[in-house]
Symmetry: none
Subunit: 473 residues, 2 copies
């Protein structure tokens, strides 16, 4: 392990000296109710964006800017004084938060932070305002405390992550000049455990999502009068959907697995290193056990390293009390697949539509409408960004991080990969049990302190390589 430079020591000391003042700043930010999905809180979202931009200016960043989108503004800024021979890091976080309902389950109102046993409870404490604030403070520690950062920094903080990926994807496509960097550092995830084991997320699944509707007779028919004579759209739908998954849980759409890159030995080793108790996991979500899944893969591998097919909703016909004896005029489903490299969401989208149209009986009409799509991505485990992040995390937390892939999708991260060729390393500091998206969200202040230290170390480490080394060019 390398030794921290004198600059890093100064930056770390700056964080110690200003700890109380920083907590006060965090508290201010957490008090802004920036719920992106709530149209009534539109002004609060803008206030949060403004607050973040002002703070960036205050710590010495340049060009702090609010760019309007179809929804909430995106905040960008930069500090590019490390020199052209130093890497440029793009920092991505989001200042918006999830809705707060059910409100009556919160011990304290979600936007009045509570501090207890070295934990802060508030909406956004972990996801993601706390982490965004850590990035501002780590940058401040270098700029103000050590006279400058060892790497060039760009900031990309959005306000729609929790409800709509389109504004940020659109921004990525239209403002590459504000995002030019050698690597992106995303902090919107969690640690491996509450015992202080850090984590690096090096992959995300992609997604393709459709509405499927099977239409038959022009209106609901009496199932006695017509049963046996008319193709029942609900029966046709369930037969079509059932045929999309085989007995092993594999998707049967032709070509679905063609581009799936199999897990490497390194991937498998990373999965095997995860602390995971399947019984505890099952109990927490209220199932008797995991499903019978794809053979040859562990449960963790199946939940983030393999593609899946899921039905997200079913509708059609009668679903009230008692009985209604109809052949429904239509039945519909929302279905989706999670994708892994090198599947292409547009290719899968076309394959699904083609297949569903091919297996539909001629006596019904089947319409398949794409609703959402995003590419999968993996940053190679031996990417210098991953290796240096691991070192920085070990310095800060005294433990080597675990590497894992996430089963979820962050379309903007995929967009930066696809559109800008920008690889991301995802280093998050929230608690894995921190009630993201639920009442009483919380964040250990130890993770907050350790996380800022880790970022200081990470800029230090990255300052020791060239942009070319980082890009692998």
């Amino acid at each position: 392990m390398t030794t921290p430079t004198r600059g890093a020591d100064a930056a770390l000391a700056y964080l110690r000296d200003h700890a109380d003042e920083h907590l006060k700043g965090l508290d201010d930010l957490l008090r802004i109710p920036s719920v992106s999905a709530d149209p009534e809180l539109r002004d609060e979202c803008r206030r949060a964006a403004r607050w973040v931009a002002d703070e960036l200016t205050r710590i010495g960043a340049d060009h702090a800017l609010l760019t309007d989108t179809s929804s909430h503004p995106i905040v960008t800024a930069d500090w590019l004084h490390a020199g052209p021979d130093k890497p440029t890091v793009l920092i991505y976080c989001h200042y918006d938060v999830q809705p707060t309902d059910p409100l009556d389950e919160w011990v304290r109102p979600p936007f009045e932070p509570r501090y207890e046993n070295d934990i802060v409870y508030a909406r956004g404490s972990g996801d993601d305002k706390g982490q965004l604030f850590m990035h501002i403070k780590a940058a401040e520690a270098w700029i103000r405390g050590a006279g400058g950062s060892p790497v060039n920094l760009r900031f990309f903080f959005e306000g729609d992550e929790e409800h709509d990926s389109r504004p940020s994807e659109h921004f990525v496509a239209n403002h590459p000049e504000l995002l030019q960097a050698d690597i992106c550092l995303v902090s919107d995830s969690d640690m491996a455990d509450d015992d202080g084991t850090p984590a690096i997320t090096y992959g995300l699944r992609g997604i393709a999502y459709w509405d499927v509707k099977v239409s038959g007779p022009m209106q609901d028919l009496h199932s006695g009068q017509f049963g046996g004579g008319v193709d029942n759209p609900a029966t046709v739908l369930v037969q079509m959907l059932a045929s999309l998954v085989d007995a092993d849980g594999r998707c049967t759409v032709p070509g679905f697995y063609d581009r799936v890159r199999d897990l490497t030995d390194a991937d498998r080793a990373a999965y095997a290193a995860q602390p995971f108790d399947a019984e505890d996991w099952a109990q927490r979500i209220g199932v008797s056990g995991p499903k019978d899944g794809e053979r040859g893969y562990t449960l963790l591998e199946r939940m983030s390293g393999r593609p899946t097919f899921d039905i997200n909703g079913l509708s059609g016909g009668y679903s009230g009390e008692g009985s209604k004896t109809i052949i429904p005029a239509w039945a519909a489903a929302k279905i989706s697949t999670r994708l892994v490299p090198d599947q292409d969401h547009l290719e899968i989208e076309r394959a699904m539509i083609k297949h569903l149209e091919a297996i539909a009986p001629p006596t019904v009409e089947v319409t398949v409408t794409p609703i959402q799509g995003g590419q999968p991505l993996v940053t190679p485990l031996d990417h210098p960004g991953c290796l240096l992040a691991a070192r920085a995390l070990e310095k800060a937390f005294g433990k080597a991080p675990l590497f894992h892939r996430s089963g979820g999708s962050i379309p903007v991260v995929a967009a930066m990969d696809t559109l800008l060729g920008l690889k991301s390393v995802m280093v998050g500091f929230a608690s894995p049990n921190g009630n993201f998206h639920s009442p009483n969200e919380w964040m250990p202040l130890a993770n907050y302190r350790g996380g800022m230290d880790a970022l200081v170390h990470l800029w230090d480490e990255l300052g020791g390589v060239t942009p070319g080394e980082l890009r692998g060019t």
Copy 2:
């Protein structure tokens, strides 16, 4: 053909003279939203029952009575002044109606009757309040217009036919004294064609109907975090349901066909005599053609002479706009089978439950709840009731009726057969295309007028035979 008696002429004249007044009465009854399946309309169902009982008293029937059940009241009354040497006819209809959704597909609100081109459009116009009202008016024509009916009459009008057969079946079992008769005349079916060809229904399919619910995790899960690891209740449901039907449309539940009595030559001849244009039929209901069905049976045979399986509704997960990336906590379906002699609905009910429980994966909970059940039945084609009804219909409509079996189910008719030994002749007057159970239900007023005439003739014909001749004893 026999000539109408002087009494019949007087009764027919009475109907002509009071036609406008009768239409007004029909309108009043159709305006009561007696949807039996809707708990919020409980009082409206009672109001309809009260309305019917008052009307029976008003026309001169005795002992008009509401008997409470576990659901809506049953209305009975009698007029037993024809004398003990005359047959007693039990008249069965129902005053409840189907639910009205989807409401936005109705041209006019379902309980605001619309009159256009000698047609009345309203929920219940054909099924079955219109037909119930015809019976009251035919009885009134004899009692008020001709000084008395040539047969003894009993009325049995229930309020749960559309959603729950148990109250009326329970009533049949517990109040045989109110139902003593030599034959039952059921009007809850339709004519052979809209060209005025009447029909006698001599068979009904039985029914068995279930709610099926598949429950998995305790709440909706993030499909990215958990997809691939957790059995998705919606996927499990569609796979279970899809497996219930084979490629020929036959139900795969073990034992399902064991007791199915095959069609006789007389049955096949009656089917072959039906005027039926499959292209016209398909166009009317808005499908490109009939489904690929059970081999060895014509389309008409499959729709009433053979058992079927149908899905009546699907629900679960997200079905709003856009996407929600969840594994739903549960998914549910309403499913039903139509049965033919000698299938037993309780036996089929048990077989379905046993089979679904057997094929459920161990990681979900499957609950199957019986919702409705009724036996299939066939009345012999040469029963005197059938023959006299045919004569009466020919007098009223100028055309001999066709004999057919219905694909629908009236469990209470099966119960009268089984429990009371009471044979039923089903003479119905609705249009075969009248949107029973669908939006914009309609009834030709010509059928309404002709139907009342036919009932006048039928009581006249039945007055010419003895109870013993009718019972075949």
